[in-house]
């Protein structure tokens, strides 16, 4: 990664967001946040609660317009949700009346891709990522982990430039979360996707990302960026947790976050 010439796919340029609290009291969510997302890398954004992680996420997704500054994807400034990024949230947001296959094809359907090729794309994703045999199952009959897998495939089916992950595993139990973290990371790598992961889970950030960006307390700003370098043997999210380097990163980021126990909101 580090040795390759780095081409930036997404740039955040001095993004600031201020909310008008209604009573003339302005709330500054964060100011002057700048960072680059390089092709093929995963960038994790961690921060204490209330630092504006989700607001930043919505700006990158084009669902919110920043007060000042801009986000651009491939040199084009993001304005409005146009499907330039694919995202995956804590809630799987599967349509309960659609089968697994039809949930995966929905993005393609909206784009106007013909039904046969949409089905083929979806089918190959479902087969290669371990949900073969569940094509016609309805979401309610799946486990939380399987549902998130379907949501991830729906995102992948559109083949987006950038994948945004907003705490996608936080509603899952610990074991399922670790397995899914490993799988999603592997899939993103193997497809050469660029991704931004917003999370409050430091372990998740270190195990999934190439770089971890730490935001400060409100008003949020970039406090530090850590390059995560772990060996192949440490890539596995479970094995990783035994490595000394993992623990060093963990301690550094924890220090950056400056969380006062007992006063956390």
């Amino acid at each position: 990664m580090v040795n390759k010439p780095q081409h930036s796919v997404l740039t955040a340029d001095k993004v600031s967001m201020t909310f008008n609290g209604g009573t003339d009291k302005e709330v500054i969510a964060f100011r002057n946040i700048s960072f680059e997302l390089y092709e093929g890398e995963t960038l994790a954004i961690v921060g204490p609660s209330g630092c504006g992680k989700s607001t930043l996420f919505n700006i990158i997704a084009g669902l919110l317009t920043p007060t000042s500054g801009s986000v651009s994807v491939d040199g084009e400034i993001v304005s409005g949700a146009r499907g330039h990024v694919g995202y995956m949230l804590q809630k799987d947001l599967l349509l309960p009346w659609r089968s697994v296959l039809d949930n995966v094809t929905i993005g393609l359907e909206i784009k106007g891709v013909d039904a046969t090729s949409a089905r083929n794309t979806a089918q190959s994703l479902i087969t290669s990522y371990g949900l073969g045999g569940f094509e016609s199952a309805l979401p309610k009959s799946l486990s939380g982990g399987m549902r998130q897998r379907v949501a991830f495939m729906r995102t992948l089916a559109l083949d987006p430039k950038v994948i945004l992950l907003d705490e996608p595993f936080s509603a899952l139990d610990f074991q399922t979360r670790l397995i899914l973290q490993g799988d999603v990371k592997r899939i993103i790598r193997s497809r050469g996707k660029s991704a931004i992961l917003v999370t409050h889970d430091i372990g998740e950030a270190i195990s999934m990302a190439d770089r971890v960006l730490v935001l400060s307390h409100r008003p949020g700003s970039v406090k530090a960026i850590h390059h995560i370098e772990l060996d192949e043997s440490e890539q596995d999210p479970v094995a990783m947790r035994r490595s000394t380097r993992f623990n060093q990163y963990f301690d550094q980021i924890w220090e950056n976050l400056d969380i006062q126990i007992g006063s956390a909101a």
Partner: protein, 267 residues
């Protein structure tokens, strides 16, 4: 902790925890209730405790029903009322559901219409009867119109409410995939409103019957409403009860059909 729960589950099977009686026992109790009620009623009349001219009498009701069924008169009334209610129900519910779904498309229109809808809903529909008679006459179409107008407004309100209750995050997800308003309507709002359309169907069967019977009360030559009204005017209470029980049976049959329909189409 986990071991304890398992132990409890072993001692008390899940079915027992909810205190659910079997289907057969429920049916048995239902029959017992009805038979008991009629027996008590019959005895009260026979012992002279309740005068027959005020309360009717189960044995008399049965006799009356058999007589009316034999000469076919009862079925003419029943068939006509059923036809009026079902036709009004289909027209009103279809148009109302469609209108409710369409209101989602424009928040502006929905907000403009809101007070009008509330006002129309608040008017007891029987107050509209003179208008309906003037517009539709005193024939079948007037009864269908009353049933349709009642069910229309209920469907409109319930289904519109349904579109508003759909998880906004689903709509946001669709937008993020690049979906336009129309596509979101077709792919999320309409299928997502199906449970509300279903509940509107069952509500509306009742309203359609009210519409048909009220229409027949106002002015009619046939139909269960007319039959009950006439029998009441003649103090023939047994005949009144025959009419009421026919309405109950009709309601049960229509509800049964809808439940089967619902089971087939729910997701």
């Amino acid at each position: 902790m986990a071991a304890k729960e398992t132990a409890i589950q072993q001692v008390i099977p899940p079915a027992k925890i909810r205190f659910r009686a079997s289907k057969f026992r429920i049916l048995w109790y239902q029959v017992a209730c009805i038979v008991g009620l009629f027996a008590a009623w019959e005895m009260a009349v026979r012992s002279g405790l309740a005068p027959v001219y005020l309360y009717g009498q189960p044995s008399g009701i049965l006799q009356k029903a058999i007589t009316l069924a034999k000469d076919g008169e009862l079925f003419v009334h029943l068939g006509l009322t059923a036809f009026e209610a079902v036709t009004g129900f289909l027209i009103g519910t279809t148009l109302g559901s469609f209108a409710g779904l369409s209101l989602w498309l424009s928040d502006t229109v929905a907000r403009i219409l809101r007070p009008i809808i509330v006002a129309i809903n608040g008017v007891p529909k029987i107050a509209l009867a003179p208008l309906i008679v003037v517009w539709f006459g005193v024939g079948i179409s007037a009864k269908v119109a009353i049933a349709a107008s009642l069910t229309f407004i209920v469907a409109l309100i319930t289904v519109y409410q349904g579109t508003q209750e759909i998880d906004q995050d689903l709509v946001r997800m669709m937008r993020s995939l690049g979906a336009k308003r129309r596509a979101i309507w077709a792919k999320v709002i309409i299928p997502g409103s199906v449970p509300w359309i279903m509940s509107t169907l069952r509500l509306n069967i009742g309203f359609a019957m009210i519409g048909a019977v009220v229409g027949e009360y106002i002015s009619a030559k046939q139909g269960l409403g007319h039959f009950i009204y006439n029998a009441g005017a003649l103090y023939d209470l047994n005949a009144v009860f025959v009419g009421i029980f026919c309405l109950m049976i009709l309601a049960l049959v229509l509800d049964f059909i809808l439940v089967k329909f619902e089971e087939k189409y729910k997701w």
